[in-house]
């Protein structure tokens, strides 16, 4: 097909995603790679992080010895509070999400389709752990950014014309950041994904060969 290219590291992908964060944004970061985004927020950009288990204004991990079992994030990790923090119930937390008050969510994915469909919660035949808050986040946040490897471990397409896995949401992805490239859509009314950046060393032919979805340049 083509010489394998190295592409962006996970941290470089997170830095790309951080560029989506604008001053004053309220943001929910999914579990896994999206949490790395917090390390790349530009100076002067003030972001408030939501944790969907009931917290706005999530702080960093505690110092050893300061862990509080009553203070965790949605990944069940111990965290800290900030001077801006508020706590609320799960129903209030998802009212905030479902009601369109969160500016942005950054999530991982198994598959993304050309029409913005997202699959990230179950693989048929494997034990299903549940969708947690992912379906609510993709249905409710104003803008959804997905961070995922461009291909699976066998080189298979994860950015595809249609998802093969059960969906988390339909027509919900606005920005797709992979280790090879960045794509975005102007709207959710049929606009196609447009390539806006490629990792050093990736050619458009490489990218097309490793992509199962139509996109525009």
């Amino acid at each position: 097909m083509s010489t394998p290219v190295k592409g962006w590291t996970r941290d470089e992908m997170a830095a790309r995603a951080a560029a989506e964060l604008k001053d004053g944004f309220y943001v929910n970061l999914g579990i896994g790679m999206p949490t790395l985004v917090a390390n790349h927020i530009a100076p002067g950009v003030d972001i408030t992080l939501q944790s969907e288990n009931g917290m706005l204004g999530m702080g960093p991990f505690p110092f050893a010895g300061d862990e509080d079992p009553d203070l965790i994030n949605a990944g069940k990790q111990t965290i800290t509070e900030l001077r801006r923090t508020s706590y609320f119930s799960s129903a209030d937390s998802f009212a905030m999400i479902r009601g369109g008050h969160m500016d942005l969510s950054i999530l991982g994915a198994m598959e993304v389709a050309a029409n913005g469909d997202l699959a990230n919660w179950m693989v048929p035949g494997k034990m299903i752990k549940g969708m947690g808050g992912a379906m609510d986040l993709v249905a409710g946040c104003k803008r959804i950014v997905v961070l995922m490897e461009h291909n699976d471990k066998t080189g298979g397409h994860k950015f595809r014309d249609a998802c093969t896995l059960p969906l988390t949401g339909s027509n919900v992805v606005d920005v797709l950041i992979t280790d090879l490239a960045v794509f975005d859509r102007a709207d959710r009314k049929g606009a196609p994904f447009r390539l806006i950046a490629m990792a050093d060393g990736v050619t458009i032919d490489d990218l097309r060969a490793r992509t199962g979805a139509a996109f525009v340049e």
């Binding site: 505690p62 079992p69 965790i72």
Partner: protein, 235 residues
């Protein structure tokens, strides 16, 4: 009045029956009613339907009710931390229904609020929407989700006054205030009993009307699932 009980066993006396539905507060192992769960375990009540965001872990939280095979069905949003759960489910011994976390929280709130059903965009176009009524509002498609009322709600709070007004602490609040509204009877275990008048009336999370029984717990385990820390930087 007399809402304060001496033990979790006493607080649950007369409330448990086989085949009942129990809604429980908690997120992961944070803010779970661990003393009430232990007392339900010891009671031997069975064929339970549990409504809870998660199903505990092996040996703690709702996991103890799974191990003792007291559970018939679980309604949850995420059950990833529990091997015994997986075994029973794959063996067909356990019924499992998933709801998106926000839909689950809203269904519990709705049950407590006398809302029989509500329309949400969450899950439209996914397996979750299959078999549910779809309806368009202002050009967008929504699905109908149902309110949940349980025979019993069990919650964990930080403080209670003698009237059963509850205050939760930090992210241990989570599903607890919602669950407290959705039980035909609600029992709260609390870390502190405080005097009448010592809670700020503007800061009460669960008004006393929702709470029928309160028990003061001792020696809570309050287990941490993911102990994550950062390094102190050198000075």
């Amino acid at each position: 009045m007399g809402k304060i009980f001496d033990s979790a066993v006493a607080a649950l006396d007369g409330l448990l029956f086989d085949g009942m539905t129990i809604v429980a507060g908690g997120f992961g192992l944070c803010g779970i009613p661990e003393k009430l769960i232990a007392a339900i375990h010891d009671s031997g009540v069975k064929d339970l339907t549990l409504v809870s965001n998660n199903a505990g872990v092996d040996g703690f939280g709702l996991g103890v009710l799974l191990e003792s095979r007291q559970v018939k069905k679980v309604l949850a949003s995420y059950v990833g931390e529990n091997k015994e759960f997986e075994r029973q489910y794959l063996a067909g011994e356990l019924d499992l229904e998933f709801a998106p976390q926000g839909t689950l929280a809203e269904r519990i709130r709705a049950g407590g609020a006398g809302i029989a059903g509500f329309y949400t965009r969450t899950g439209v176009g996914t397996k979750i929407a299959e078999g549910k009524e779809h309806k368009d509002f202002d050009g967008e498609t929504y699905i109908l989700e149902r309110g949940i009322v349980a025979d019993l709600a069990i919650v964990h709070a930080w403080q209670s006054d003698p009237y059963g007004n509850l205050v939760y602490r930090k992210t241990a609040r989570n599903f607890n205030p919602n669950a407290a509204t959705a039980g035909r009877v609600t029992v709260a275990e609390v870390e502190h009993l405080v005097d009448a008048g010592s809670l700020d009336p503007d800061g009460i999370h669960t008004p006393s009307v929702y709470v029928q029984r309160v028990v003061l717990g001792h020696d809570f385990e309050k287990r941490i699932e993911q102990r994550t820390v950062r390094q102190r930087e050198a000075v």
